[in-house]
């Protein structure tokens, strides 16, 4: 026992001052602080957060929504590769699937912190209210997480330790990739359902005029696909620059980035249209919420975070060939898209709650409330992010998650030989 410990300490001593060691140390510190914060939350209850009866959903919900939406790269790229036949992007889809698994587990962690009765988490699966969008989201997320576990099995099968210790199991897990097209179909269905339903969850809240609009689900779906692909590409490029374990094919990433720039044009159009249509005429509650967004406390988030840096600048950077070809500008643009998505989710969640519409009779009176996350919310929230970063870093190092040299064998392709000569 003593020997094992001395060995562990020796390894730590030798490796701590390498970049990898420092990175792990940093993440370990963030995670330990988060662990303390998390224990405090479970022990003292949600009273130590800055959440109130007027703003019951805060930073954690933003982390939950964001991590689910940046996981959308998994289903969209898998659909592209296995359903639309763009097979050469398979290595990117592999990275996206792994990010998806991390993202959804991050969302689960955020939810466990956020719900008042984490001990009753399982009841969400036992008792069904099929009228509730949150029920639908819960079901789809649970099922999709299962799909993601199966989809990522071939990735985990490449773990050296598993291959040596349980070769038969590793072989079985590897074999899962034969079913990739089927998982892609199920994943596409489940993801389309819950990514848009997350928006609809807000869109059906009649009590809050800013949120009550049908385009909410379209915006959530669209932005999730963009953000999910952007994060996958950014993470791949960044890790290839930081470690020799990650190998990318820049031409593939450049092509997907170009596609992303077209998606951004479409997304900008939707946002513009949504913004113009919702601004038209005075509607109590909605107009005030827009006021918070455009000139109020969230205006920096809205104009810079969501629109300028989140859509417009990266769109131009990715459309303009010289900047798209430059890895630096491309990475910057991709990171901006992800940041814009997080800003969008934060604003959507918070702004509808900040403008409080009174129920007193007569002309609707709208008052404002405030919310800024408490330290304990930040600490535990950052821990969830750190967990995601740690999981991805380990994946890159030990599972070759970002390796565009890996080519999987063809799926379900049947070669048909013509029996007669064809005359063109």
């Amino acid at each position: 026992m003593k020997k094992i410990f001395s060995n562990v300490f020796k390894t730590i001593r030798e490796n701590i001052f390498t970049p990898w060691g420092l990175w792990l140390t940093f993440l370990a510190i963030v995670l330990s602080i988060a662990l303390v914060a998390g224990i405090l939350v479970f022990w003292k209850g949600l009273v130590i957060t800055n959440l109130t009866d007027l703003v019951p959903w805060g930073l954690w919900i933003t982390i939950d929504l964001s991590s689910i939406s940046v996981s959308a790269g998994a289903f969209s790229l898998c659909a592209a590769v296995y359903l639309f036949g763009l097979k050469r992007y398979a290595p990117i889809a592999r990275t996206a699937t792994f990010i998806g698994l991390i993202g959804y587990t991050m969302a689960m962690l955020a939810l466990v912190l956020d719900i008042g009765r984490p001990d009753r988490f399982y009841k969400a699966m036992m008792y069904w209210n099929v009228h509730s969008l949150m029920w639908e989201v819960t079901m789809c997320v649970m099922l999709y997480l299962t799909v993601l576990i199966f989809e990522t099995m071939p990735i985990f099968a490449s773990l050296e330790w598993l291959r040596n210790k349980y070769p038969a199991l590793a072989h079985k897990m590897e074999g899962m990739h034969h079913y990739a097209p089927f998982f892609a179909i199920i994943g596409l269905g489940l993801s389309s359902l819950h990514q848009s339903s997350l928006g609809a969850m807000y869109g059906v809240i009649k009590a809050r005029p800013y949120l009550y609009k049908p385009e909410m689900s379209v915006l959530f779906m669209f932005s999730a696909i963009i953000g999910g692909i952007a994060l996958t590409l950014f993470a791949s490029m960044l890790s290839s620059r930081l470690t020799s374990k990650a190998k990318i094919n820049d031409a593939l990433i450049e092509r997907v980035s170009q596609f992303l720039s077209y998606l951004l044009i479409g997304y900008l159009y939707f946002r513009f249209w949504d913004w113009m249509a919702s601004r038209y005429m005075h509607e109590p509650g909605r107009t005030e919420a827009y006021h918070l967004l455009t000139v109020g406390p969230l205006s920096f988030n809205f104009w810079f975070g969501e629109l300028l840096l989140g859509i417009l600048v990266p769109m131009i950077l990715l459309l303009y060939r010289p900047t798209r070809m430059s890895p630096f500008w491309r990475m910057l643009a991709l990171a901006m898209v992800v940041g814009g998505l997080v800003a969008f989710r934060y604003d959507i969640n918070i702004v509808g709650q900040l403008a409080v519409i009174s129920y007193l009779p007569g002309e609707s009176v709208v008052s404002y409330t405030t919310y800024s996350p408490a330290l304990v919310e930040w600490a535990s929230g950052m821990g969830i992010v750190a967990y995601g970063l740690l999981a991805f870093s380990l994946g890159v190092k030990y599972l070759r998650v970002v390796d565009h040299r890996i080519t999987e064998e063809e799926h379900e392709t049947v070669t048909v030989n013509s029996t007669e000569a064809v005359h063109a």
């Binding site: 003292k44 959903w57 008042g116 009765r117 509730s132 949150m134 009590a207 519409i357 129920y359």
Partner: protein, 256 residues
């Protein structure tokens, strides 16, 4: 033979259509019932703003009878402007909506309709996601951010607790003192007439500004006064169909 064959096919077609129609009507029926089943009674409350003096007895009686944390008010009293220089108040319990947003959005069905229209909370089912709080147009729900462990300052002056305290981590709200209604009716009392079968806030009101009764009974006090008097409901434009009616403050009535 051909004739016979044709007939059989016709019969099959007809029965298929019949089954489809039956299934369709069943589906429509079910959709109809989604807004809560209509039972024998439909409890409703009427609050007369001409009589309300804003004393807050309703809040205190509610806190005592339902053992509510002093930080939480199931029935809250707000100032609502002036008529002829006299302040007007608005007392707001849960609206017991016919199409309650909280019931529709609850992922586990912890909020549900009773046959008599009361919107209930199953505090043992609730996972504490707070979607109902976000969805309620009347801010009628309060979350238990921490456990209520101390003494209830409203007890025993304003009454004695009749229900269990809610645990930490679930939202709570008014349920028209269902426990008083149920116990009272078991004893053969009539809610709205006999104090022991009537919500605590109605009983406690010193000016008689609150009335309670059955909307299904045309002779009940609430049915009668709603026929005679102009009334309104809060945020009626949302179409939630609330079961709390307000009689607007009337200058003449306030004088008398």
């Amino acid at each position: 033979m051909t004739e016979n064959n044709f007939n059989r096919r016709d019969f099959l077609k007809l029965s298929a259509v019949g089954i489809a129609v039956a299934a369709g009507t069943q589906a429509i029926k079910q959709a109809d019932a989604s807004g809560g089943k209509k039972g024998e009674h439909q409890w409703a409350m009427v609050i007369d703003q001409s009589k309300c003096t804003g004393c807050g007895y309703c809040t205190l009686a509610c806190q005592a009878h339902n053992d509510v944390n002093p930080d939480i008010e199931w029935c809250t009293v707000l100032e609502a402007g002036e008529v002829n220089g006299k302040k007007i108040y608005l007392s707001r319990p849960c609206m017991q909506c016919e199409h309650a947003p909280c019931v529709e959005v609850c992922p586990v069905g912890a909020s549900y309709y009773r046959d008599d229209g009361i919107v209930m909370m199953d505090y043992n089912k609730c996972i504490g996601c707070r979607y109902c709080e976000v969805a309620c147009p009347f801010q009628a729900r309060s979350f238990n951010w921490e456990a209520f462990t101390g003494d209830n300052p409203a007890v025993p002056e304003w009454g004695t607790p009749e229900v269990e305290r809610r645990p930490r981590g679930v939202p709570e709200k008014c349920a028209f003192c269902y426990q008083r209604i149920d116990r009272g009716m078991e004893l053969g009392l009539v809610p709205g007439i006999d104090a022991d079968a009537t919500p605590a806030c109605v009983v406690a009101c010193p000016t008689g500004a609150r009335m309670f009764g059955d909307l299904n009974d045309p002779n009940s006090n609430v049915s009668q006064i709603l026929r005679k008097h102009v009334s309104y409901r809060l945020r009626e434009n949302l179409g939630t169909g609330s079961r709390v009616y307000y009689l607007p403050a009337d200058a003449e009535e306030m004088e008398s």
